[in-house]
């Protein structure tokens, strides 16, 4: 007998469910500006005096603040009054591309129900912004990718006009289809490119090395057919099958290529998807490998042995794509656990609270072997990491930056952002010897031009 939809959906959500913090309502209400209440007569004179002093102080601070927010002045780390507080946009920054110290794009999702999505560009480090593309209600941004300051692709997901199909992978099986626009002048002009749609993977290429060369995993919806790896060298007009995704790889593997021949499949090993009759998690059969490599453009894949910490055996592991500087490689991953014990009574939440640890592995032979396992003080679980080179890393810890110059042997930590804010470091953050861009939460931006020693707020543009 089939389970009812209601019990199945509830079971699925409750499997992961964590009760909210007891103070969630208080926290939410505190975020709302409170209404003004009249001051008592007794304190009014004292308050008026204080107000004059405060006003003078505010004018001084505001003068500095305006310069900081305009990016004219950078603030050093470790500020006495708690760190940089970049201005928040009145919208969510749902994607960003930073391709040089001065040139960046942000994708803004405006509020109010399904509001439009707008692409904004700056070429002067965030001082001025220009609108380049607007996606109307009903459609949404699929992806935005720039390979340099000129060449970029924008994928807009638009509602399918085909009759809906219940057959996975058949035309109409997805209710949104991608529409690709291409630019060669930094977004000044966009041309619609008529690309064939892979209905088994309508999200588009899984990894693009250049604007013309990309790989995708196709057929993932066509059970039980094996997923295949396809390759294009003409920007997606034609695709050729180059290999089969290894059978031992996780269904949720991410695909990355570091050059035309060398590619990586990084798996996410989750062990919390099944429970026995008592609600105890069942250890899933281990994957044959969490990391796979191809050195022939995807035709053949080989598992890579990783010396994981002991706690990875019984808990969930998530790998980031490896990063290489010549033959030196860095592989960041997290272990989180324990899998929640599921209570037979569905109305009760799972019993355990989770934890998460970040680790780093290093390679010195192009990723053939990995070692020097070390737990990192921040990183994945607290906003990610950026790498200047194989030895110099910046890890975020909420508002703090933790830095190492000796590949994790020693660390220094300093506060950069105001308490309550947090960096969102990610591989697509632009970073070179001196310049760094980073998003802060969902609606703020910061930039450094001296390798992270000083940071400047970037004022998000006003969008109408």
């Amino acid at each position: 007998m089939k389970p009812s939809a209601r019990s199945a959906i509830r079971h699925d959500v409750l499997t992961d469910y964590e009760v909210p913090s007891p103070d969630l309502v208080v926290r939410v209400l505190r975020a709302i500006p409170s209404s003004h209440k009249p001051a008592s007569r007794r304190g009014r004179v004292a308050m008026q005096t204080a107000a004059v002093v405060l006003a003078a102080f505010v004018i001084g601070v505001a003068t500095v603040g305006v310069r900081v927010s305009r990016g004219e002045m950078a603030l050093p780390a470790g500020l006495p009054f708690g760190g940089l507080h970049p201005p928040a946009a009145s919208y969510s920054i749902v994607d960003a591309e930073f391709v040089s110290a001065d040139t960046a794009w942000i994708v803004a999702q405006l509020y109010v129900h399904n509001g439009p999505t707008v692409v904004m560009n700056t070429t002067d480090g965030g001082k001025t912004w220009h609108e380049q593309f607007r996606i109307p209600d009903g459609s949404s941004i699929g992806s935005l990718k720039f390979w340099n300051t000129k060449d970029g692709d924008l994928v807009e997901d638009v509602p399918s006009t085909l009759p809906p199909s219940k057959i996975p992978g058949a035309p109409g099986s997805s209710n949104m289809v991608p529409r690709t626009y291409r630019t060669h002048d930094g977004g000044g002009h966009w041309s619609l490119v008529d690309l064939p749609i892979d209905w088994s993977n309508p999200g588009g290429p899984d990894f693009s090395l250049t604007q013309l060369e990309a790989w995708r995993i196709s057929g993932v919806e066509l059970r039980p057919a094996k997923p295949i790896l396809q390759h294009t060298v003409d920007g997606g007009m034609h695709w050729t099958t180059v290999g089969i995704v290894p059978a031992g790889a996780s269904p949720g593997s991410d695909l990355t290529f570091t050059d035309r021949q060398t590619g990586w499949l990084t798996s996410n090993q989750s062990k919390s998807y099944a429970w026995d009759a008592n609600g105890t998690p069942i250890a899933a059969a281990p994957l044959t490998a969490l990391l796979w490599v191809t050195r022939d453009g995807g035709q053949t894949w080989a598992p890579v042995d990783l010396p994981l910490p002991a706690e990875a055996a019984a808990n969930n592991v998530r790998l980031e794509a490896p990063v290489f500087f010549g033959k030196d490689g860095l592989l960041e991953f997290e272990v989180n656990g324990p899998p929640p014990t599921f209570r037979p009574d569905l109305s009760q939440p799972p019993t355990t609270q989770g934890w998460m640890h970040s680790y780093m592995l290093q390679s010195h032979d192009g990723g053939r072997s990995w070692g020097e396992l070390g737990q990192t003080p921040g990183g994945l679980q607290q906003g990610g990491a950026l790498f200047f080179d194989a030895h110099h890393w910046l890890l975020s810890q909420g508002p703090d930056i933790t830095e190492t110059f000796d590949a994790g042997k020693t660390w220094t930590t300093r506060q950069v952002l105001a308490s309550g804010l947090g960096f969102s470091f990610a591989p697509w953050n632009y970073i070179d010897g001196t310049a760094i861009w980073s998003q802060v939460g969902a609606d703020r931006l910061v930039r450094s031009t001296d390798g992270g020693a000083h940071w400047m707020a970037v004022t998000p543009p006003t969008i109408k």
């Binding site: 939809a5 959906i9 699925d12 309502v25 939410v28 509020y111 129900h113 269904p251 697509w428």
Partner: protein
């Protein structure tokens, strides 16, 4: 007063204050955000951000279809969608889970179900969570999803069919 009738008392709500309107809705908002994001901290952040946006847009609330609760949950759902769309979303993303190879088509396991749900569109998943997890009436589900009631019913039926589960006719009739 039931939350879905609050919009009819807009004037009274102004006097009562936004806080008293929103407080009983924080818990269902969190449940919706958690169903979408599957991470407590992210869900709490989404609820906080959505509540602030609701507060800032409250003056423009005009007794929309479905009432205040539907209006607020729409903002919550949009906030979750924005969070997921951002590439800084660095947890295991729900929609990255792909079907395992060679699994038994006839068996509905927790893993199977999850992966099939992950294969649905975001909007179909939203319908499932609103109807079966939050137990909202179909009219309110439709309002949050921006659909007509008939379209919401049809899409729910289709989504459930894809999951190879029984559509709950009693639940449907009850609404």
């Amino acid at each position: 007063m039931p939350a879905n009738k609050l919009s009819r008392a807009r004037e009274a709500a102004d006097h009562a204050g936004f806080d008293s309107l929103i407080t009983p809705l924080v818990e269902p908002a969190y449940r919706l955000a958690f169903a979408i994001l599957r991470q407590r901290m992210a869900a709490e952040d989404a609820v906080q951000e959505a509540t602030f946006k609701a507060w800032s847009k409250f003056a423009s609330f005009r007794n929309e279809r479905g009432g205040f609760r539907a209006w607020y949950l729409t903002i919550v759902a949009n906030e979750c969608r924005s969070l997921q769309r951002g590439r800084w979303w660095s947890v295991l993303r729900f929609d990255q889970v792909r079907p395992p190879q060679g699994s038994d088509e006839s068996a509905i396991t927790a893993s199977d179900l999850r992966q099939t749900i992950a294969g649905l569109s975001r909007s179909d998943r939203l319908l499932l969570y609103l109807f079966y997890w939050l137990d909202l009436p179909l009219e309110e589900v439709a309002a949050v999803a921006g659909l007509s009631t008939g379209a919401a019913r049809a899409r729910l039926y289709r989504a459930v069919g894809r999951l190879r589960l029984e559509f709950d006719p009693s639940k449907e009739n009850a609404t």
